[in-house]
């Protein structure tokens, strides 16, 4: 059975339909990519899954349970963690403390939480940066901190919202390695990404949405050849020109 099922979810903001009748599911241990042109509704779909928005219509099942409209903190305790497209570190707290906040989802004891946070930081190659303040980190490290905090909550499903945006090519490669390593450890991952090279390399399957609607789903190679996808990205006249 799939870990996450999104069933016919529609999200309206007033008259604007940001996500329209979207259905998808993610199997355990899978990496699913979600792509689409700017404003296609990717982040809105994500926010519905993560509990930030309650979908206007449709249902979201996580681990077999209907979690539609549940609050982010409850979803987090159930094993659903996310990162934010615009990183949101706690600026006055050290890197280690930032991650410790996440680790408190698993334990109530400070020492255990700190140990766990340290472990996660090492896993992401940030072991030496525990005492730094987020403001002193590079953008690549801030993105990693974002992932570290989410990982510390011990999620079953990790939602990554454009964790590679703004990174240099070598850093993108490092991030791909990190995400692959997480999958090796049995994590299920749902990725939004704009960097095609990365999403093609990572995803088992890709869902493409355009104007809030799913226009294609398939293996990366299939998606890359799909006519609708090419049109959505490059315009109607691309084929004829």
């Amino acid at each position: 059975m799939s870990l996450l099922q999104v069933q016919e979810v529609t999200m309206r903001f007033g008259g604007l339909i940001a996500v329209n009748d979207l259905s998808l599911e993610i199997g355990r241990g899978q990496i699913l990519g979600l792509i689409g042109p700017n404003g296609a509704g990717k982040s809105t779909a994500f926010n519905c899954v993560a509990g930030l928005y309650k979908p206007t219509e449709g249902r979201i099942l996580f681990d077999g349970e209907d979690v539609t409209g549940q609050k982010p903190w409850d979803l987090c305790k159930k094993g659903l963690a996310r990162t934010f497209q615009i990183v949101k570190p706690f600026q006055s707290m050290t890197v280690l403390d930032n991650v410790t906040v996440g680790a408190f989802a698993v334990t109530d004891h400070r020492d255990e939480a700190r140990d766990r946070a340290m472990e996660v930081l090492r896993l992401l190659g940030m072991g030496g940066k525990g005492r730094a303040l987020p403001g002193s980190l590079t953008i690549a490290d801030r993105k990693r901190l974002e992932i570290a905090r989410a990982l510390a909550t011990d999620p079953k499903l990790l939602l990554l919202d454009e964790v590679m945006a703004g990174l240099r090519p070598t850093e993108v490669d490092e991030m791909i390695d990190i995400i692959r390593a997480l999958r090796e450890r049995g994590m299920t991952i749902f990725v939004i990404e704009h960097i095609m090279r990365a999403i093609m390399a990572l995803s088992d399957e890709i869902v493409v949405i355009h104007f809030g609607q799913k226009i294609c789903r398939g293996k990366p190679e299939q998606v890359a050849r799909d006519e609708n996808v090419i049109k959505a990205y490059l315009g109607e006249n691309y084929g004829t020109a």
């Binding site: 993560a50 930030l52 609050k71 982010p72 903190w73 987090c76 305790k77 963690a81 996310r82 934010f84 949101k88 570190p89 706690f90 600026q91 006055s92 707290m93 050290t94 890197v95 280690l96 403390d97 930032n98 410790t100 906040v101 996440g102 408190f104 989802a105 109530d108 400070r110 939480a113 700190r114 140990d115 340290m118 930081l121 090492r122 190659g125 940030m126 072991g127 030496g128 940066k129 525990g130 005492r131 730094a132 303040l133 403001g135 002193s136 980190l137 590079t138 953008i139 690549a140 490290d141 801030r142 905090r149 989410a150 510390a152 909550t153 703004g166 240099r168 070598t170 490092e174 390695d177």
Partner: protein, 393 residues
């Protein structure tokens, strides 16, 4: 002696000195000034639980002082119940009111919360000023309540009245030390982390499993409970309370001023703030209360502006940095505290994919802070002062 131990010893020494102070300071006037100073440090510390840790700006904490003062006084005057018991009753009552105020208002962000707490104080003050009898309870409106002193020269623990200043001094000092120990424990606990993260970025905190609103309300309940205890103390110290003395915005503002100038969200902030600012208030009241009443609030406002311009996180931070240097001078032995687990991680900290870190600066629009030398294992002590919470004993 490690730095950690040195700092702890300093703290113990200061505490002992504070307890021994009445042996040296015999003047009742000076003791009274110290008592008031501790009282403000106490109230600001309890304010800090909400205003500092939870990252909101409550401007109505005098409500809880007032509830504490009125409850214990009414119970003593009308029913002969010891103020010690009244103190607890008032605190429980205040906690309830804190819950009722906090539940709807703590969902608001920024200035809206501050404004609504101000509205509560003013509303309650106007009510108390206009009510003589509340059912069987005598509030006595704007004239306030007078606690008749016991026989001259007589003190009684049961009546919470003492003939000399020393008992008051020890009571408030004990309360202060206890509440400091408590906030320090909270700041290191899950609750402390949750409050702080929720105060800084609610969305991010919620995504990490923090029910931000619930933790803020919990902090508000604890804070109002503890603040009300100070209200009873104040009533027993002055033996006269009236709406304008315990239910005013002046008091609420002053607590916020002390916390903001001292250092919001830090344990030492309220102490340092009270030490620096209470004398200003005292002297401006002594010398200018006739000609320029309220001058102290103007001075505090100016100080606040200057501090916010140059030390936006309060005066505690630079002072602690100096203290860290002194501590390093006396106990330079170990570079780091033993309880931070990040030094011995050399085995797997070749920071696997992280090596090409240094040529990072030009194309990272988000990181004007420059090269990230800080985290490299070579400089474990470089950021010692970066986390004030960790350093404090």
């Amino acid at each position: 002696m490690t730095q950690q131990e040195f700092k702890r010893n300093c703290l113990i020494a200061v505490t002992l000195a504070a307890f021994a102070l009445p042996l040296v300071v015999r003047s009742a006037t000076y003791l009274h000034i110290l008592i008031i100073l501790y009282l403000y440090a106490y109230m600001t510390t309890t304010w800090n639980l909400v205003g500092g840790f939870a990252g909101v700006l409550p401007l109505g904490h005098s409500v809880f002082v007032g509830i504490g003062a009125y409850t214990s006084t009414i119970l003593w005057l009308q029913y002969g119940i010891s103020p010690w018991i009244g103190m607890l009753v008032g605190a429980v009552l205040a906690a309830g009111v804190g819950y009722l105020i906090g539940k709807p208002t703590l969902k608001m962000r920024g200035a809206y919360f501050a404004l609504s707490t101000m509205a509560f104080v003013e509303g309650i003050r106007v009510m108390v000023e206009n009510i003589d009898m509340l059912g069987p309870l005598k509030l006595n409106g704007p004239r306030g309540l007078n606690i008749p002193p016991l026989q001259m020269g007589e003190g009684s623990f049961w009546a919470f009245q003492f003939s000399s200043k020393e008992p008051y001094y020890y009571i408030i000092l004990t309360m202060l030390v206890a509440v400091l120990a408590m906030t320090s424990a909270i700041s290191r606990s899950k609750m402390g982390y949750y409050l702080k993260s929720g105060g800084e970025d609610p969305d991010a905190a919620q995504a990490l499993g923090v029910n931000v609103a619930r933790y803020k309300v919990a902090a508000m309940v604890i804070s109002s409970f503890l603040t009300a205890l100070a209200g009873t103390f104040l009533a027993q110290l002055t033996l006269f309370i009236y709406p304008k003395s315990v239910l005013t915005l002046d008091l609420s503002f002053e607590l916020a001023f002390i916390a903001l100038i001292g250092g919001r969200g830090s344990i030492a902030g309220p102490i340092i703030g009270a030490l620096l600012l209470r004398p200003v208030t005292e002297f401006s009241r002594i010398y200018f209360s006739a000609t320029l009443p309220g001058l102290h609030l103007i001075i505090l406002g100016v100080v606040l502006i200057v501090v916010m311009l140059y030390q936006p996180r309060g005066l505690t931070e630079p002072l602690l940095r100096i203290f860290d240097k002194v501590a390093a001078r006396f106990a330079p032995a170990l570079p780091d505290t033993p309880d931070t687990p990040d030094t011995p991680d050399t085995p797997d900290s070749p920071d696997s994919p992280n090596s090409p870190d240094s040529p990072n600066l030009p194309d990272t629009p988000d990181a004007p802070a420059g090269p990230d030398t800080q985290g490299t294992p070579a400089a474990p002590g470089a950021t010692a002062s970066a986390s004030p919470r960790e350093e404090r004993p």
